[in-house]
């Protein structure tokens, strides 16, 4: 249980814990799973990979399960659709449902009616739209919270969706390695671009946050040099950016890269994506209500 003492409550920067500690871990997982599921669907749809689409669907199911574990009254989950006008959780819930529905239809058509190309394309596009929505809404749910300055940034949704895409592409790489696909080189080229974009977005996000407010600056300091530094430098930077980038560069020069090396990059990227969600959620602090000097 979160203990808040009446005496010192809110006189210091107060870390948000509701969405990262205890049950809150599950919402961090849900955001991560939603991101990679969306990214994996988009990548798999582009490469026409049915197994990838199926795994994206399963990951979305896991996202739903993680969401349910986060709720204290999961049996009332159906109520979560009633406020799409203002609540990002409500919108997200709708996106997840529609993504699941259109993905199932797409998979059925791809498996049992492969000649219905128009229908397949239509449902793939519809599912793709909601895959993207599912991936990006988690960022909007976080960035909408104006009370937490380090979250309240337009870069957060872009960061989350890029991170989800890189994780999804990594999983598709593992699938293609397993399938011995001939398109691995093309996929690797896309991964290189996305990884570089991800690294740039992380840097811009942190740099921008230091200028936005003292609370956001405090959060960034905690991330890069404070208690959250191990999570950020080892989890996000080393696993999420450095290792995959080094492997990407190696595979660019050594065309015949080993599967073990590629799988290392995949696992590393997934760990990095998870670490990013936790790092951003843990970095969220409220401004003190009383002057802290």
């Amino acid at each position: 249980m979160i203990q808040r003492k009446p005496y010192d409550f809110m006189v210091k920067y107060q870390q948000q814990k509701d969405w990262v500690d205890g049950r809150g871990n599950f919402i961090a997982f849900a955001f991560f799973l939603g991101g990679i599921a969306g990214g994996l669907f988009l990548a798999s749809a582009y490469f026409d990979n049915l197994l990838g689409i199926f795994i994206a669907f399963l990951l979305t199911g896991l996202m739903g399960a993680s969401y349910m574990l986060h709720l204290t009254h999961p049996m009332r989950f159906w109520r979560m659709v009633v406020k799409p006008g203002t609540s990002w959780i409500s919108r997200g819930f709708t996106f997840i449902m529609l993504f699941g529905l259109f993905t199932v239809i797409t998979m059925i058509l791809m498996q049992w009616a492969p000649d219905a190309t128009t229908a397949i394309t239509t449902f793939k596009v519809l599912a793709g739209i909601f895959a993207f929505a599912q991936s990006i809404y988690t960022g909007f749910a976080v960035s909408y919270v104006s009370a937490i300055k380090v979250w309240n940034s337009a870069i957060v949704p872009i960061l989350f969706v890029t991170c989800g895409l890189s994780g999804g592409l990594a999983i598709l790489l593992a699938i293609m390695v397993g399938q011995g696909s001939a398109q691995i080189a093309t996929l690797e080229n896309i991964i290189r671009v996305v990884l570089i974009a991800f690294a740039i977005i992380v840097a811009v996000y942190l740099w921008n946050a230091t200028y936005s407010s003292t609370a956001a600056k405090d959060a960034v300091i905690r991330l890069i040099g404070g208690v959250l530094a191990p999570l950020f430098w080892i989890g996000v930077f080393l696993f999420g950016i450095a290792i995959p980038v080094v492997i990407s560069v190696i595979t660019y020069w050594v065309h015949d890269a080993s599967s073990a090396l590629l799988i290392t990059a995949v696992v590393s990227e997934i760990i990095g994506g998870l670490a990013l969600r936790f790092a951003v959620l843990k970095a969220g602090v409220y401004e003190p209500l009383l002057p802290s000097d």
Binding site: M1, I2, Q3, R4, P6, Y7, F9, M10, V11, Q14, Q16, D18, W19, G24, I27, H70, L71, T72, H73, P74, R76, F77, R79, M80, V81, V82, K83, T86, S87, W88, I89, S90, F93, A141, Y144, V145, S146, A147, I148, G284, Y286, E287, L289, L290, P291, S292, D293
Partner: protein, 215 residues
């Protein structure tokens, strides 16, 4: 009609009577506080000021919590009071995250008692009947809406008549807390806010609080 409060900071002595009155009025379980007294200091020796702020949900006119709640459990009445329908809340905690005043708490442990290992006190037993709090939902100050509603029905005026006024207001020994209708130009609360230059706590949070503080 929009209920509001004005709190005179110089009158508050930090006795915690309002916190206890609230606890008793709503039979709040252990660890749950709808009302708090924040104590801090500002400045450097020898020019130090002690700060005592009595805080609770601000019953904001533009509440962040209502907007983010996906189920509609957190809602706003016509008189501005923001409350949580315990039967609709799923416990997603979005409202807790979104409230810049951190005025909300999750009531998690339905079995928590003030004297663990002993029998429930009479007060706790009565509370479980009169004001049963449902575990697993978010809870916060509701401006004693039950007192207001019953008082209005009995023809009383909240802020004037004790029975129709929030417990924290009537229990304050220094009369530091004023209560009344912010939409009524001649109400005592509007007079106090105007004459003594009342201002919301952290107006930059942009939620339009209904509680004003007087320095």
């Amino acid at each position: 009609m929009r209920w509001g409060m004005a709190i005179e900071l110089k009158r508050c002595v930090g006795c915690y009577e309002c916190v206890l009155a609230c606890k008793a009025e709503h039979f709040l379980p252990p660890e749950i506080f709808w009302n708090r007294v924040l104590i801090g200091e500002s400045g450097k020796y020898p020019n130090v000021t002690k700060l005592i702020y009595n805080v609770r949900c601000n019953q904001c006119d533009d509440p962040a919590c209502v907007k983010v709640c996906p189920t509609g459990a957190t809602q706003q009445r016509e008189d501005g009071i923001v409350w949580v329908d315990e039967d609709k809340c799923v416990g997603c905690r979005y409202c807790m995250v979104a409230c810049p005043y951190q005025a909300r708490q999750m009531y998690e442990d339905g079995n928590a008692q003030y004297f663990p290992g002993q029998e429930l006190t009479e007060h706790e037993k009565i509370g479980k009947e009169l004001y049963p709090h449902k575990p697993g939902v978010v809870t916060k100050c509701v401006f004693c809406k039950e007192r207001i509603d019953a008082g209005l029905e009995a023809g009383l005026t909240p802020g004037v008549d004790r029975e129709a006024t929030p417990a924290c207001v009537i229990s304050c020994p220094t009369k530091a807390i004023h209560f009344g209708d912010l939409d009524e130009p001649n109400s005592d609360i509007n007079r106090v806010i105007k004459e003594k230059h009342g201002h919301p706590f952290h107006p930059e949070f942009d939620t339009k609080p209904s509680i004003y503080y007087i320095d």
